[in-house]
Amino acid sequence: MLETEAFEVSFGPQHPSTHGVLRLQLTLDGEVVVECEPHIGYLHRDFEKICENRTYTQVIPYTDRLDYLGAMNNNFGYCLTVEKLLGVAIPERAEYIRVIIAELNRIASHLLAIGTFVQDLGAFGTPLLYCFREREKIIDIFEATCGNRLTYNYYRIGGVAQDIPDGFVEKVKGFIKYLRPKLKDYEDLMTNNAILLVRTKGIGVLSREMALDYAITGPNLRASGVAFDLRKEDPYSIYPRFQFDVPTRATGDAWDRYRVRMDEIEQCLRIIEQAIDNIPSGDFIAKVPKMLKVPAGETYFRTESPRGELGFYLISDGSNKPYRLKCRAPSFSNLAVIPDLVRGVKVADVIAILGSIDIVLGEIDR
């Protein structure tokens, strides 16, 4: 009998498909994973401590850099947290702009998640670049609105930084019209592709119980059959006014996680369609003092970011700077389940599972 020996592979931090600087320390027996240990912290910037030395407004650009693919949603979550403690009323117009922008950002984020996921499965570039092409349209809209393409810094405490530019509504409508047929193409190219099916069906099954135990949130949880979406469960902003479904899937394998994201893009489009025609006129930002002082107290506010439950826990001592700001990053909890999911699968599946979980290292390391 031949004796075999398990060997260790350091997967990352420089690796084409660890989505940033994650390092997975894999113990392999041939092609099969015996043990997996994720190492994080390569992108640590000490966000939470930095925030203690910045005024409330100055924190906003730093939230951009948490989940850099869903930067608008981070802005949104942070601003809502401060507004909750501040007790300020947001103008209707600002609410609508915020929701439209956040949903567009969610589409952009999901497009990238799908694209990189299929890229990780080995489809060389093509699906990824198709997704990038569509995402580019959203980025262009954002660029015209707030001036930047990735780190937007658009939301302000009490509203948004600038009013929407001329032609915004037409551009968004044009985008919706543009994206719908493209989603059909994706169905043909990716969703129903036989190779993609055999690669993802039954891979990395995350059971309902396991997902709940690990505090998985977002599309990953919904793929496991739990219809939990904070926009429905604990509604914030003006989400209760819109009709939309929470797409769920039953088994919780990589294919389901992919499908949930595809379905969510459709739901985001629905929300935008309902909101875009009804933007009321008025102010785009509430009257907030320039030197913002938040009354002493503490609060936790959670929003549905593209990756799950994004929570900010804020303690204020009444000064113009947060006393403590804790960020509950969805990717962090989602990543924690990786070692359990990849035990006993092939190396190629590690990539598939990691891609389907869709992590962003920016908010894991913070």
Binding site: E31, I195, V350
Partner: protein
């Protein structure tokens, strides 16, 4: 005594070899450019546009860059194996050209066992790839090398079995004879399944997507050539495209009637068919995801192999009945 005929013969052989080498290099350069263009247009891009008309000299620029690059040999590498691997891979990919018929009389040597010879030498490349995987002293390379060895050995069998039907119909192993046997009708009409099995196995043989598990960019960084750079990397690259040419050339010769076709000269027809098949390979590569290593094996052993056997059986039966 100086053996004049021998020297003349030797010089003639050298000229042939040089001619083929030149053709291979130019063809590979064209193929690399084509691949970049095809992939770019599939992805709504333009691809190389700067160097020359539509970037047609881009590959030359890249080759010069690769030639000038520093030759890096890692500390952990097994020096001898590391150095020889690209040579083995390249030579193995170049050898089949001896028996590839470009035109009616455009063949370096019409061996009467031509097909067998091609199959034999073209599978030598796996040794080089395995050497590269082992010699790099890198775990990713090793995994890539192991995968290739398993993959190529598995796919060799359906490949040979699918070709066997053609040999049965032509009654010869000589490439020229096989092509001439297709005078009336191309063998793809009689043997569509054999062609399909051959083409799929051929894609797997040359490690192209969706069977590129040896390189597996997103898993193994670059697989067996992770540690290679500069000219040694260029050799692998050259070998990959040469291999593509070889398998497509075999397909064109065995199933698509080789040089035969109306109007155009034979060599043009042959190249047209070869490049069309290569284009299909590129098209497939830029569309599909990659199979997993065990699924790849299942596909070879549980689907392609029985299919190839069945095909042989049916062909044999039909031939017996007809006689």
């Amino acid at each position: 005594m100086i053996d004049i005929p021998f020297i003349l013969n030797f010089l003639w052989m050298c000229a042939k070899a040089a001619g083929l080498l030149g053709f291979v290099s130019i063809s590979v350069m064209f193929l690399i450019w084509l691949e970049r263009k095809v992939s770019a247009h599939i992805q709504s891009r333009l691809g190389p546009m700067i160097v020359g008309w539509h970037g047609c000299f881009q590959t030359i620029a890249d080759t010069i860059k690769l030639l000038l690059k520093e030759n890096i040999v890692t500390k952990e590498a097994d020096k001898l194996t590391f150095w020889f691997a690209p040579l083995v891979v390249f030579v193995a990919s170049f050898l089949p050209f001896v028996a590839i018929p470009f035109g009616r009389n455009l063949i370096a040597r019409d061996l009467n066992l031509g097909l067998l010879y091609i199959l034999a030498v073209s599978s030598l490349g796996v040794i080089g790839i395995f050497m590269a995987g082992w010699g790099s002293g890198n775990k990713y390379s090793l995994l890539g090398g192991m995968r290739t060895a398993a993959q190529i050995i598995s796919y060799e069998i359906p490949l040979v079995l699918s070709i066997l039907t053609v040999v049965m119909m032509a009654g010869s192993l000589s490439m020229t004879k096989i092509i001439e046997a297709q005078k009336g009708m191309w063998f793809i009409v009689y043997q569509p399944i054999a062609f399909l099995v051959y083409f799929i196995s051929a894609i797997a043989e040359v490690n192209r997507a969706p069977f590129d598990i040896a390189e597996a960019e997103s898993e193994l960084v670059a697989g067996f050539h992770t540690e290679y750079s500069g000219m040694k990397f260029a050799m692998f690259f050259l070998a990959e495209y040469t291999n593509m040419f070889v398998v497509s050339a075999i397909a064109a010769a065995l199933f698509l009637g080789g040089w035969q076709g109306p109007f155009l000269p034979g060599a043009a027809w042959f190249l047209l068919k070869v490049y069309f098949l290569i284009f299909v390979m590129m098209w497939v590569r830029w569309t599909f995801p990659r199979l997993r290593v065990d699924q790849l094996m299942h596909f070879a052993w549980k689907f392609l192999l029985p299919l190839a056997f069945l095909n042989i059986l049916v062909t044999a039966l039909v031939m017996v009945i007809k006689r």
